[in-house]
Amino acid sequence: MAEVRFENVTKRFGDTIAVNNLNLEIPDKEFLVLVGPSGCGKTTALRLLSGLEELTEGNIFIGEQLVNNIAPKDRNVAMVFQSYALYPHMTVYNNMAFGLSLRKVPKAEIERLVTEAAHILNIEDLLKRKPRQLSGGQRQRVALGRAIVRNPAVFLLDEPLSNLDAKLRVQTRAELNKLHQRLGTTFVYVTHDQIEAMTMASRIAVLDKGVLQQVGTPGELYDRPANVFVAGFIGSPAMNFFEVTVGGSDDKLFLESGSFRLLVPASKTATLVPYRGRGITLGIRPEDIHDKEYVPTGIDASAPVRAKVDVIEMMGNELFIYLVSGKHRFLARVDPRVKSRPGQDMEVVFNLSNMHAFEAESQKAIPGKPD
């Protein structure tokens, strides 16, 4: 049970900077997810915290203790590896008991802790088996069990679900959530899958190229992304981006895309006025693009955009339509009753009150995003 603090942490491997000046506070009992594309430094950050990797600059605290020079085994952290890393020659029971016996925990106590963890994870009848006799999901549970019995201050999980099949992954997501609530321990979880991040995290930290992009609750990241990277990374299917020019007069701003022109709603006008005559990046999530026939009430449908249907993906409860307008390609997530066919033109409505605007140069969000 402890908070974790990264202070100006940098890690270099030769000339490459894996983690660049990371500042991050993780309160006690939080489920923090480090997410980003591969090579973004998230696993390195986790390994720095575990002590398996030594940092180049900065400080890491667990609780109030500076752990820079403390050996992994003395940091009171437990890690679940992507490959599970179960000891292949030991039974499940011994896999879980190994760490405890190294710490000279009395035999009876070890048995109690292992049995308890096995009960929580529902693997009581596997205790006498060897790892090779287990399925992927069972191995994953044993790896979790090995971490649980140690009762660590911080749980580190490095893509623990990526070796499971899709169905099991969804199921295990929910179980990990329950486990976190039950144990009340700080979890630091690394994944490249933003859906895992969204569904499990108390807070998400998005990394790209070793730099922390944004930290916040899943809702904050989804509704108020700090830059184009976060906006494009969080949410599936991903946000659509358009290079547009701000035009019109102070009380009636337009966004010019080249092939269509959008009226900026009154609520957004003030923030965009300073950008008049300049280019910005417009971000619209696929669910904010509607077919003209099925526009929800309260959305201005007076100026639809004409676009050509490229591909349609039927998801059952909704349709993903890939659209082309001029040089722009974008994706709309629409009502399944929409009857458009590939090759046809259709008229869509952009719900600009949910729009995101980013500076063209810095790619940073322009303040005054949807509330």
Binding site: G51, M79, F81, P88, G99, R150
Partner: protein, 296 residues
């Protein structure tokens, strides 16, 4: 022609393809059997001779032994073991070979663990130097090592010859084990470190149990080399009461040059243990060789 053949094959179905597979492998089998027979014939001749009385050996070839009257005897073995000191030599061979196998493998294991998993300055240079020692011919080392052993009063002692065999065995053992250890999954070791294991614990509780195939094959190699060694024992172990079987048999050759019945019996006594070990561990033997080959 090919059409007919195809029809026949499809008609036979599975049976047909199986037959064809066997036919295509037939030459291979024939060659292997012929080679095996050629190799085994002299050894078989020695084995037969070792059970024949000296008069029979002197007057007729071993292949005539299978005619009546059968003349087989165990006297040769009895005589070799009791009068020629082979029993004592067998024991000496064991005393030399077991530590001569265990010590180098243990030392090489520690070294290989360091080479494979620990970061220290000069690791690669040191490893390359170690591996390069494989090419040093043993004859070149005989005089300097003998001097060294003389200075340290280890000539003619078992510890002296253990040390010599350890030194000769180390380079290859380190090379093989380093390669094997290095391909164990990194996460496994990291997991153990996080669990609180020290390097020594990781070595004994994780690395050794997971490396049984490599260790077993290495142990067989090293054991056979030490067991069959004549040169090292001859040079460093100049005390006849400590002679291993190789040295004793060599002496038999010089003093009983014509007593084939004794030589053959002694030779077979010295072969028993390696044969047993090889048959018992042949699974690891093959596994270990391929492991080394792929990684090396």
């Amino acid at each position: 022609m090919s059409g007919v053949e195809a029809a026949v094959v499809s008609g036979f179905g599975r049976f047909g393809t199986g037959l064809r597979k066997f036919a295509s492998r037939l030459p291979l089998h024939v060659v292997i059997i012929v080679i095996a027979l050629l190799w085994m014939t002299p050894a078989f001749g020695l084995l037969v001779s070792s059970f024949r009385p000296s008069t029979a050996i002197a007057t007729s070839g071993w292949w005539t032994a299978f005619q009546t009257p059968f003349q087989f005897t165990l006297n040769n073995y009895g005589s070799v073991l009791s009068q020629q000191g082979m029993a004592r030599s067998f024991l000496n061979s064991l005393i030399i070979s077991v530590p001569g196998t265990v010590i180098p493998i243990l030392v090489a294991g520690f070294a290989a663990f360091a080479f494979a998993w620990m970061k220290f300055r000069g690791r690669n240079v040191l490893f390359m130097f170690m591996v390069a020692l494989i090419v040093v011919p043993i004859q070149m080392t005989l005089i300097p090592v003998l001097r060294l052993l003389t200075v340290t009063h280890l000539v003619g002692t078992f510890p002296g010859i253990w040390l010599a065999h350890t030194a000769y065995g180390l380079p290859f053992a380190v090379f093989l084990l380093t390669n094997f250890f290095a391909q164990l999954p990194k996460e496994l070791l990291e997991s153990a470190y996080l669990d609180g294991a020290s390097n020594i614990r990781v070595f004994f509780r994780l690395i050794l149990p997971l490396s049984v195939p490599a260790l077993a094959s290495l142990a067989i190699f090293q054991f056979l080399w030490v067991w069959n060694d004549l040169l090292v024992a001859l040079v460093y172990l100049q005390d006849p009461s400590k002679s291993p079987m190789t040295v004793t048999i060599n002496n038999l050759v010089s003093s009983f040059g014509t007593q084939w019945q004794l030589l053959t019996a002694a030779a077979f006594i010295s072969m028993i243990l390696p044969l047993v070990i090889f048959i018992a561990l042949q699974r690891y033997f093959v596994e270990g060789i391929t492991t080394g080959a792929v990684k090396g």
